[in-house]
């Protein structure tokens, strides 16, 4: 609690808001005591005076000082707004949040009550209440509470339906936790914060609404007065003394602003706590660059000195994001090459940086990412140091991308055909009809039945497998020389996955395009690729021919070996426990010294924990970043150079 408050008070806006509220509370408490009598006493000698030193805002028709009246009115205005909001939020919580623990039928019933209530125009409800109960301060408060209730109820409903549909509440129900406890320990704590933010903002809104009612003459009645009442009285003499209307107006805006600013800062505070706000780039300093390795293991070494010019050449690629305590580095010093027509797999766990790496290569890193590279060449053109937009222009349609989640990767508002046709239209200079024909042909190529009709449909009308094929068609339509596929089959069933993989393989075989396929599943890559890059904690730890996966004893890096051995397959010995990798992947928000895998590695030595191993050519024909490669070690003898 204390940490939250101190965190809140670090925001300048919050400090201002709290000060403004302090002034208001002081006024509400003191003003009626100090000037209460003076503010209501008529003074026949000073009727409707213009502003002067004695009466800064002038006087009204009965000769009362408008400034004093404005200050004194603070109490009534604030009390009314706070009371109405609290009544509204309590009723709203009961209507909106309680049904979450009462079951589906109650939820539906309450939801329909709330939505009917919400449909009532706010002002109308207020007016009708006024008419039925007669005008006055109490009526205005009740009226406002009535209009606020449904919106609070809707908010509570939306928030608590998230809780109500959550698995943790289902688990609690199954454990036999009482409804009361479900409500107090599960629903309320998980919706409290947004509701509090909303209450704060609503007090400000309520203040404005109440003053509107009074302004219309249906709120507070004389001799009582709040800001709205004063404003309406002032407006009556706006021609003689405009200032008379300005005073109470400023007060209303001041108070409304104070509450909305406080609500705003509370909301910002919540967001920060959920995702701690990253430091602004200028305080972070320049983005980290991959350090040039000391001995420069020549990537043009014997094994890699192919006569073919690589299609893609990446050297020293680093990707960093601004984080709360400095740069977060999901990708560090990654170097690799792709030959024309080659299919390369990239495997790694979540957080290994595999997707970020490939998206950065395609110049599609998310906004805010700092991408640096010593060398980035594609098809003979140098992309080093270009901005994402410039780089993207150079790449054009020569790099096609297949994304992971086909439902979200396609634009829900556009027809599938239109989304495909955009590429020939923009890049190929094709006419509308021509482009559309190209799109239909591309869909037909990936064996989508009735392609012409399907092109007219929207993404949600496609099945998952068909959407994924449409995405492949989209990546193909510009005839790219490199396809980057990011987890292309993760959300699919095995039989559908098999067909999509076969399609991808065939497309590459027929067009001669190279492909980079990112996946967390080694087996998927084993079937599809020719070479595999293994990533761990933002670095490539092994780069090896795919055929070696079938014989894990020839793999060099302990992580790769464990990865290939740890997943149960259809021949795993059921009588033995599964081979596992102890521990958990490292937390990338903290800097890692030495080999990131050392903590989970049985062969790690002190040197592994202090020095980062360099990715260097290895005797198995690929590259490996490890001090204790395992491929030469006989399976049963402990390596001598490895300390116990």
């Amino acid at each position: 609690m204390t940490t939250r408050r101190s965190g809140l008070l670090r925001q300048p806006m919050a400090i201002i808001a709290v000060c403004m509220l302090g002034v208001l509370v002081l006024l509400a408490v003191l003003a009626p005591v100090l000037w209460g009598e003076e503010a209501v006493a008529a003074n026949p000698d000073a009727i409707a005076l213009p502003p002067s030193a004695e009466h800064l805002l002038g006087t009204d028709k009965l000769g009362r000082d408008i400034l004093l009246r404005t200050l004194v009115a603070a109490r009534l205005s604030l009390v009314m707004a706070v009371a109405a909001t609290l009544m509204g939020v309590c009723a709203g919580l009961v209507l909106g949040a309680l049904p979450a623990v009462l079951g589906a039928r109650a939820q539906r019933w309450f939801a329909s009550v709330v939505s009917t209530w919400l449909a009532f125009p706010v002002l109308l409800v207020a007016m009708l209440t006024v008419i039925l109960l007669g005008p006055g301060a109490t009526t205005a408060v009740v009226a406002l509470a009535l209009t606020m209730t449904p919106s609070f109820a809707r908010l509570a409903q939306t928030l608590s339906s998230r809780v109500g549909g959550s698995e943790y509440l289902a688990a609690a129900r199954m454990l036999g936790v009482s409804r009361r406890r479900q409500f107090t320990r599960y629903v309320l704590p998980n919706i409290a914060e947004p509701v509090i933010v909303n209450v704060t903002t609503s007090i400000g809104g309520g203040l404005l609404a109440l003053s509107s009612l009074s302004f219309l003459g249906v709120g507070v009645q004389p001799p009582d007065f709040d800001w709205g009442r004063l404003l309406s009285e002032g407006f009556g003499q706006v021609y003689n003394s405009p200032v008379a209307a300005i005073g109470p107006g400023v007060a209303v805006v001041f108070a409304g602003l104070a509450f909305s600013m406080l609500g705003e800062s509370l909301a910002a505070q919540l967001r920060n706590r959920e995702h701690r706000k990253a430091l602004p780039p200028r305080r972070l300093g320049p983005a980290p660059v991959a350090e040039v390795p000391a001995q420069t293991p020549s990537t043009t070494g014997a094994e890699n000195a192919e006569t073919v010019v690589p299609l893609l050449e990446v050297e020293g690629l680093s990707v960093s994001f601004p984080g709360p305590d400095g740069w977060i580095r999901p990708v560090q010093d990654v170097s690799f090459r792709i030959a024309p027509g080659e299919i390369v797999g990239v495997v790694g766990e979540s957080g290994s940086g595999k997707s970020v790496t490939m998206m950065s290569v395609a110049r599609l890193a998310p906004a805010g990412a700092a991408v640096t590279a010593r060398r980035l060449r594609f098809d003979g053109e140098d992309l080093t140091g270009l901005t994402p937009a410039e780089g993207g222009k150079v790449l054009g349609t020569r790099v096609g991308v297949v994304f992971q989640d086909s439902l979200t990767a396609l634009n829900p508002a556009l027809r599938v055909g239109t989304q495909l046709a955009e590429i020939p239209r923009v890049h190929g200079g094709a006419g509308r009809r021509q482009a559309h024909e190209r799109a239909v042909r591309a869909l037909d190529d990936v064996r989508i039945p009735d392609a012409a009709q399907r092109a007219q449909q929207f993404p949600h009308e496609f099945s998952g497998g068909m959407r994924q094929r449409a995405l492949i068609a989209m990546s193909q339509i510009g005839s790219p020389s490199l396809i980057i596929a990011d987890e292309p089959t993760t959300a699919l069933d095995v039989t559908v996955q098999r067909r999509v993989l076969a399609l991808l393989r065939r497309e590459c075989a027929e067009s001669g395009a190279a492909a980079i396929v990112v996946s967390h599943d080694v087996a998927v890559l084993a079937e599809l690729c020719q070479r595999i890059l293994v990533m761990y904690a933002g670095r490539i730890v092994e780069d090896v021919d795919i055929a070696l996966l079938a014989t894990p004893e020839r793999l060099a890096h302990p992580y790769t070996r464990a990865l290939a051995a740890s997943l149960p397959d259809l021949d795993t010995d059921r009588t033995k426990p599964l081979v596992t990798i102890p521990g958990e992947p490292p937390d990338l928000s903290r800097p890692i010294t030495g080999c990131a895998f050392a903590a989970r590695c049985a062969f790690a030595t002190d040197r592994c924990r202090t020095e980062t191993p360099v990715l260097a050519p290895h005797r198995h024909g690929g590259r490996v970043a490890c001090r204790h490669p395992q491929d030469a070690v006989a399976p049963d003898t402990a390596p001598e150079e490895v300390g116990a």
Binding site: T116, A119, F120, P121, V122, L123, L124, M127, L128, V130, I131, L132, L208, S212, F215, G217, V218, L231, F235, V238, Y239, P242, A245, G249, V252, V253, G256, L257, S260, M261, E264, A278, P281, P322, A362, L364, P366, A367, G368, A369, G392, K393, L395, T397, V399, V401, F403, Q404, D405, T408, A409, N411, P412, A413, L414, E422, V426, F458, H460, M474
Partner: protein, 302 residues
């Protein structure tokens, strides 16, 4: 929707029967002669049994009869027919202005501030819109009158006299709504820009305008309208206040006037008209949204 309308009809019916003891006495004043009151009650059918009055009233509504003024006996339907256009014009223009200003501004600010960049722009935007949104319509109206009409004589003070007379009321009605809608629009645009299909659009190397207008705008618009869907309703309600400030000959003026003179016959009729307009508007917004966003419509039908 129909339930809501029925509740409003019934409440409005009860208003005329229950408000302040005897509404006819209240309207005509304590000094009015008892026989005059009695005659007016008879004329309005207030002496019949309540249930009979209710069905008479419903039957009247089906014929388009919204009741009559207690004081003058004039038909409310007639009043609505020449007052309604003024209100709809005002609210409609303001609605269009709000959307035209708020959505592009929200999108533009979102593009500038995405990915944690330009923190300054974000602060200025939230500060300015927060301040503007805290100014109630009628207060802005008062200020506008003081500055532009009384001091500068640039626009008419009040009334509905020609194109120039629309400027100040429309501004008064739309400014604070535009501020809050542009905040919603910015947040929705930020969410939209983070969506996967935006990355797909970028992967196609489309020109920037195409990425933003063709791929982002439709999606953020539906999201914005879903949240700001009650906007037009708010504008119509807000017009009551603005009409009061600018002496605009619309429904709002008549409504407030009727309440202050305790002419509950008119109040009853106008309340119904307001409710009907807002309910119809909400229905239309839902319809447009379901047409725009095929995903929601699909979810609702399944």
């Amino acid at each position: 929707m129909l339930v809501a309308m029925w509740v409003i009809i019934t409440v409005a019916f009860l208003v005329l029967r229950m408000a302040g003891g005897d509404p006819v006495r209240a309207a005509l004043g304590a000094t009015a002669d008892a026989s005059v009151v009695q005659a007016r009650r008879e004329q309005l059918g207030l002496n019949d049994p309540l249930i009979l009055q209710y069905f008479d009233y419903l039957a009247g509504l089906f014929r388009g009869d919204l009741g009559a003024s207690i004081i003058t006996g004039r038909s409310v339907t007639e009043l609505v027919s020449y007052r309604l256009p003024a209100t709809l014009e005002l609210a409609g223009i303001a609605f269009v202005v709000v959307l035209l200003v708020a959505v592009p501004v929200g999108l533009a600010i979102a593009i500038i501030t995405q990915g944690n960049g330009r923190r300054g722009a974000e602060t200025v935007f939230t500060g300015v819109t927060g301040f503007i949104a805290a100014i109630p319509e009628y207060l802005l109206g008062v200020v506008l009158v003081i500055v532009f009409a009384i001091t500068l004589h640039a626009f008419p003070v009040a009334g509905r006299t020609g194109p120039a007379s629309y400027v100040l009321p429309v501004i008064a009605l739309s400014v604070s709504a535009a501020a809050s809608i542009s905040r919603i629009a910015r947040i929705e645009a930020l969410n939209t820009l983070k969506d996967d299909y935006m990355r797909t659009a970028r992967s196609k190397r489309l020109p920037a305008w195409m990425v933003y207008f063709r791929h982002a705008l439709p999606n953020m618009l539906t999201a914005t309208l879903t949240i700001g869907g009650t906007l037009l309703g708010t504008m119509i309600a807000g017009s009551v206040l603005v009409e009061q400030v600018f002496n605009w000959p619309g429904l709002g003026m008549a409504f407030v006037g009727a309440i202050t003179t305790k002419d509950y016959g008119i109040v009853q009729g106008l309340a119904l008209v307001y409710a009907a307009i807002i309910l119809v508007v909400n229905l239309l917004v839902d319809l447009v949204l379901s047409l725009l966003d095929r995903r929601t419509s699909l979810l609702e039908t399944s």
